[in-house]
């Protein structure tokens, strides 16, 4: 939708200051797009496709050639530039896709699940390129991914979209700390566990569950609150026998958010 491929059914959106329905041509000039498929036709040569894309963006013949050689060099593709794209390896094709997306030095670059099908080395390379683009040219990068570690590592702003609705929009750090750490405590008896649960409930923002002789507490800054809680519980005669603190991942954030929204939609249906 933001790349003008699909018209929105409702609402408005602006990319680089241009409306995606009223000013499509300007949006298309402003964005680079790396889709899930390959940008270069398989019967074509990488160099020809880069020059063609540059010409489509209105670069003169000379500039298109110069820009093409720069990009080929930057993505380590110069020696593969005159082979048919169908003969390139997956990693080489992906680098060519990104190079084509960057031909006119776009203000906004869309990367649609760019690391799907890449081996770990190429994935790290790609992440490095993305970081450099953002740091050196100030390119805004919109990255969609199912690898949430990738979003965590790269993104300054994480938006979670579920069934077409934005359900979260913040930095990865803020999203994670809002969900909080998971503190698991073990006790000598089930009675101890229930007594402890009542006490743990006093931690601000805590979400407490009791299982047999155990208590799990999900709370913002849970790792900071845990030592105090353990000391309190020992003083109250319900000593902790085992403890584990796990920091939240974006996966947890995602599951928590989408799980909640699933429950909400069930509630609406009922």
């Amino acid at each position: 939708m933001l790349t003008t491929l699909i018209a929105p059914t409702a609402g408005t959106a602006e990319v680089a200051g241009f409306d995606v329905t009223r000013d499509r041509a300007a949006v298309r000039r402003s964005i680079g797009y790396v889709g899930q498929g390959n940008a270069a036709g398989h019967q074509y040569r990488g160099r020809d496709e880069l020059i063609g894309q540059a010409r489509a963006h209105g670069l003169s013949r000379g500039d298109a050639r110069a820009r093409t050689e720069e990009l080929l060099a930057a993505f380590d593709l110069t020696e593969h530039a005159d082979r048919p794209v169908s003969q390139l390896s997956g990693g080489q094709r992906r680098r060519l896709d990104v190079a084509i997306g960057l031909v006119q030095e776009p203000a906004v670059l869309f990367l649609d699940e760019p690391s799907t099908g890449l081996d770990p080395q190429n994935r790290v390379n790609l992440q490095e390129q993305v970081r450099r683009l953002n740091a050196e040219l100030g390119t805004t990068i919109v990255l969609t991914t199912h690898y949430l570690e990738e979003a965590d590592a790269l993104a300054g702003r994480v938006i979670v979209i579920d069934h077409g609705r934005v359900i979260a929009d913040d930095t990865a750090a803020a999203l994670k700390s809002a969900l909080g750490d998971l503190v698991s405590l073990g006790f000598g008896s089930s009675a101890d566990a229930h007594a402890a649960a009542a006490r743990a409930d006093r931690i601000p923002g805590a979400h407490v569950t009791v299982t047999d002789a155990g208590v799990t507490v999900r709370a913002p800054f849970g790792r900071d609150a845990a030592p105090g809680l353990v000391a309190d519980l020992a003083a109250a005669g319900t000593p902790v026998t085992r403890m584990e603190v796990v920091g939240p991942t974006l996966d947890d954030v995602f599951l928590n958010l989408t799980g909640r929204s699933l429950r909400e939609s069930k509630g609406e249906a009922a």
């Binding site: 959106a13 797009y33 398989h42 074509y44 720069e70």
Partner: protein, 274 residues
Amino acid sequence: MTIEITSARDTAPATASVRRTAVASAPVGIVADIRNVFVRELMPVLRNPASVLFAMVQPLVFLALFAPLLPDTGTGSALQWFVPGIVSMTALMSASFTGANLSEEIISGSFERLLVSPVRRSALMIGKSLREMVPLVLQTLVIVVAVAPFAFDVHLAGIVGGILLLVPFSVGLGALSLALAVAAKDQAWVFWTVQQTAIFPLLLLAGVLLPLDGAPDWLQLMADLNPLHYIVDAERALFAGDYPVDTIAGGVTGSVVVGVLGLWVGVRAMNRAS
């Protein structure tokens, strides 16, 4: 819901270290747009010219095996009558194949990249269709050279006019073929089935292979509704060096109608492509 994505460039200073060539996307005129698409489409052939040699020979084979069966008509030689028909048939075939390569490009992803690029939808279709005319022009030259020693009068102006007459028709039919490929998506068999089903009635009802003079009324009526019929009649006049205004006007009308209709359908199909 409103999502706004603003450029970080407004706030972050751009460092010049990575860039040496000054690049900025600028609007491209429609003619340059068409030329860019045309040049891109031609690239695989330019890089591998041997791939078109077979296409060059095809109409010759057809001509060699079919023309001897035709009796000379009262008005002229069989070749004089048959060659313009073969040229029209070749245009019909190559234009209707325009979409064939698109399935591959849809599956690989390069078509999506073009849809997001600033290239106009109409330029995509016109450029791709015009590229299909390149072999047609070469094939026509090969045919004319091959038949010139026999009972065939070469009228150069008429041949050039005949090829120009086929341009709107080829663009329109090419656009329809692309629309069909877009609708068929990754199911290539849908494309081929529809294309084959459409091609033969068009061909037979245009009087390309056999004259329609003795046709029953219902067949005559269907032929009268076929734009290619008027184009073929005009081609025959042009190749013979005759320029009867009504026949040529009929051919031009038929060609332009297909061109406009095809582009209109094609652009709509592409806008709904994804």
